[in-house]
Symmetry: C3
Subunit: 276 residues, 3 copies
């Protein structure tokens, strides 16, 4: 029995998540349901893609991912089921799949042909649940719908390279639970343009010249405790998604501030890297 | 093995939810526990009823619902177990059951006779867990306690009809995760008084004359994209619970505002409908 | 198959929790994973200890508790696995275990010898998952690592006794979901110094002379409803963790205030008890 994961913007107070889980269990009593996140920003498929891209691969192949973000079907955003990278994704054709792809393209896409039994305002419920349970039971995409080739493209926020390859201009794409600032500059992209040169990362008024591998790298454990850098130090790091992240060592957004609050950096703000 | 759901006002930070789940697994290692919501407003049984009413039916019949909202037992709010609509509810006799009933009345109610082993401040724990596990294992209500007939009534917020049937005065009973404003006016109630007439929904300074079936109904997909109504449009809709809801198409409460914030409508505020 | 619980400061929006669960299921398809809390204050091991101490015992013996708070391994905070009180704890050696102990000391501690396969910034993932799954499958600590004796000590906030045993000075260690104020004064500690005497609990400008066993104890159910104390009454209580707690009867922090907001009491503030 495949795992079914849920990634939605439903929040954790309303009845939507409970209803969705109840419907799955009613259809498939032995279902194994795992929450990825229900706190995606409303209708924010970019944020949804960032979170899903960095978690789906940890699940076993064959996992079915239901995505309840901007999922109301319209003539232009039909419900689709996608096989990509060994995983199944059930969502509306709103551009999300394109944002998830990186190396791999979808190996199969169908338009879900299950009719929504009523006109209600919560379509994920019935159609997504039926499609997901069919696949989780080992069914094929062919039964869920007919082949579909018109995947919507949404422009992803890509970093740009200017000044004859001497400057990368990236953007903030995510602020995490610690208030750390995730950029859209991936390690591979950075290294491809860096070519071994020195660099300066400009984050508002601060300049960083090193990218660490782990947060505690900025601490010199050979020094006495009193001599060491304290929590609160600003740093750049490759995060677990291999994006360049501007972080505060052991930051606490609820006390004393975070990289986001201290630098005044928010979603979509620019981060510049100059090569020397 | 029946599912056990949890609906509480415990929040998701404290140890209460973890403790509750641990106790259930200790009693019933194969339990299947599903969270409905732990973010009910403290002691708000109206809110609890709205969320539970709109989710419990999605679960299979025989599901056991533990409700940890205003659940401390007192001489006047005893612990009860209720069979209604094929589902089991374990809660305090605080009026919740009356708020949940609609078409169906409880088919069986017992006062839970399991003694709380200590005087601690967290009674749901032991008594509710033991009652729920007994039922989930297939046990009967008769073993849990003795028949009980004194269910408390709490006055539900019902819409009123005035002006010789020409006006409905309803109230806001819930603000959802998108900031949409849910009224206590159910589709059936509305249609019974409407009798085919035109109408105006008055939500603060705004007037709406149509109730949509789905959010994207306000978009005319025959128009070019640039000509269409944009996200941000105010609308009335029958939501998934068939209540009249004042919504913003693709609203984001954290950016740009929601129906609740833009109209200044909050819990218990009035919404008026005039028939023409 | 043992239960694996998760207690982290990852929050519920980011991909971290989903990734962690996916990794566990990939390693151990039949795993039973239970969330204790993901909303621990960032790097706050005192808060983590309070929540874990009050929930872990409710789980069956043999449960494996993964703790993702301040868990990055450094030369001084190695990854450890601990058997204590019949439960397994997997965490960094950051002082947490000392804060969890009370009557019982760890019966076995090992330094986890599983190598972190990459340099990524999310170490809980691979090392903790592998250690937890090994133990959950019934494996021994000896296979996970070698014996370890250098557990870090972190000074716990202990109440102090002054004025020849006539005064206890305690601190606020937790504000719960209802805004109630939990002190570090345990019932046993209080009674040991009280020796049957009367007392005054000084919480800012308020004085309380009784500690209740349950919240509704302050209501006299022999009086008519109109004569009774209403929700909103300030009280002291032994909470479910047997700590002295300053509470508001049926408080709602989001409407009308809580003990914390009304008294202006926050984390680490002092609470004094004078014996008479």
């Amino acid at each position: 029995m495949a795992i079914i994961t849920l990634t939605t913007d439903f929040g954790l107070k309303d009845h939507f998540v409970g209803s969705l889980k109840g419907s799955i269990y009613r259809e498939l009593p032995d279902a194994k349901i795992v929450d990825i996140s229900h706190n995606i920003g409303p209708f924010n498929i970019q944020e949804c893609a960032y979170i899903l891209k960095n978690s789906y691969k940890n699940f076993p192949e064959g996992t079915v991912h239901i995505i309840g973000v901007d999922s109301e079907p319209t003539p232009e955003t039909k419900h689709i089921a996608v096989l990509m990278d060994g995983h199944y994704f059930i969502c509306a054709n709103n551009g999300l799949i394109g944002l998830l792809e990186s190396e791999t393209a979808p190996s199969k896409v169908v338009e879900i042909a299950i009719r929504n039994p009523d006109l209600g305002a919560f379509p994920s419920m019935d159609v997504f649940v039926q499609a997901a349970c069919h696949i989780a039971r080992g069914g094929t995409l062919e039964v869920v719908g007919k082949p579909f080739t018109e995947l919507h493209e949404v422009r992803d926020l890509a970093p740009s390279v200017t000044d004859n390859g001497n400057k990368i201009i990236g953007s903030v794409i995510y602020i995490d639970n610690y208030g750390n600032v995730v950029t859209n500059i991936h390690k591979n992209f950075f290294e491809a343009y860096r070519k071994g040169r020195n660099f300066e990362i400009q984050a508002r008024t601060k300049v960083l010249t090193k990218i660490h591998q782990k947060y505690s790298d900025i601490v010199n454990f050979n020094l006495e405790k009193s001599q060491r850098r304290a929590p609160g130090e600003l740093m750049a790091i490759y995060n677990s998604a291999e994006h360049i992240e501007i972080a505060i060592y052991k930051s606490n957004p609820r006390a004393g501030g975070s990289a986001s609050s201290l630098l005044g950096l928010d979603y979509l703000d620019a981060i510049t890297i100059n090569f020397k």
